[in-house]
Symmetry: C2
Subunit: 262 residues, 2 copies
Amino acid sequence: MAELIVLKLGGSVITHKDRPMTPDMDNIRRLAEEVAEAGTRGLMIVHGGGSFGHTVASQYGIAEGLTSGDQTIGFSKTHQAMVELNGLVVNALLRASVPAVAVAPSSFVVTERGRIGAFSFEVVRRLVELEMVPVLYGDAVLDGVNGFSILSGDQLAAFLSVGLKASRLVFGVDVDGVYTSNPKLNPDASLIETLPLGRLGEMVDVGRALTTDVTGGMLGKVMEAAAAVEAGVEVIFVNALRPGAIFKALKGEHVTGTVLMR
Amino acid sequence: MAELIVLKLGGSVITHKDRPMTPDMDNIRRLAEEVAEAGTRGLMIVHGGGSFGHTVASQYGIAEGLTSGDQTIGFSKTHQAMVELNGLVVNALLRASVPAVAVAPSSFVVTERGRIGAFSFEVVRRLVELEMVPVLYGDAVLDGVNGFSILSGDQLAAFLSVGLKASRLVFGVDVDGVYTSNPKLNPDASLIETLPLGRLGEMVDVGRALTTDVTGGMLGKVMEAAAAVEAGVEVIFVNALRPGAIFKALKGEHVTGTVLMR
């Protein structure tokens, strides 16, 4: 496959995270335009759940696996919430003339204790070869051990980057990158522009970096991204709330953010 | 796997076929109730596209394969139209307390010249084992030879029945079953209650049975169902517009319709 970029758009960027099932349509439309302008050959997008997936998933305890029959309705509702959010993203991309195609993770991925095991790249690889842009998302999926699990968009984006030998993995998040501590809680937190994975424990206040996000906050993203870094993928975190940042990151231009290093 | 029934709901039953993108919510809700009452263990549902999928697909010539770049937008829009219709069906089933789970064919099926080749049964099999009801649909899918194709719900339903060794395949259509001719065009057409496949050419006016449906009319359905009949699946066509017919067919009770025989 020719050069591939994987773009992960955080749930907190495309939804209002504190209001259940509320998309941030202004951001979705702006990001669709930035993607269109940057060029869409060799591009794959994965987005998070924000206030769509997480709200329903936590209501039914989907991330904890299948323990009661009532949860089957919740499993389906979590997926439907994600399908709805995905439809908004895909339609915004189509309106910006991006040949975006929805791909539902739960229709073909079964995890083992929450981690992707066997995975068929056939559909996403062919879509990119045909110059279309697959749009996947964090999803409620079946799990071989626990019945259900939540497959985070972060895990999926990193997995796709490694499996398809992407040249770059761009995480569009709601802060400027990885900080020494959580910048939303700690005013002394400072942005780390280059983060060698081996120095993670020393540079980041790991305890404070964690958030209550069920799929992990920034630290969780860095941990997921580590596999991509090890595989030689260039991984960068940028602030997708800042107009132009995603455009620049996709084009490979200089942009404020955090680059992960081996 | 324990006993399995595959239910195919025709697009002309769940949509107003002559009005673009118009669901028939009364039928969808009534059918969801009938499914719930009949019991949902060991059940899989496949629905057609009706005025959702077919409208967009024919606008962009998706069934003819990929011949121009503009079609990639149409491919995505066809799928999105089906996702929307599927969401209405799944939500109606969830409201009737059926643990229905959407499964997107285009996310894991690649056809070869329009026919299903390699196919992973893992997700649908596991869903049924966990007592959930997979809900699939006719879809725009990637094709190894032609780029794109339209995978009809009829082909998919028959394929699932054979692959998962279903005991029964119920086609819910908008007429009472298979007629000697097209009952909508020919007032002399009479219902065939038992149709041995070997006598098809002699019993059915094949020319008149064809309709303009891009996935084939009743004859197309019978041809798709033939593989299931050969594999030992009990195949019955019933009128899903008649209240109670789908309930009876799912329960195995006597109902007006056409039973296919070897």
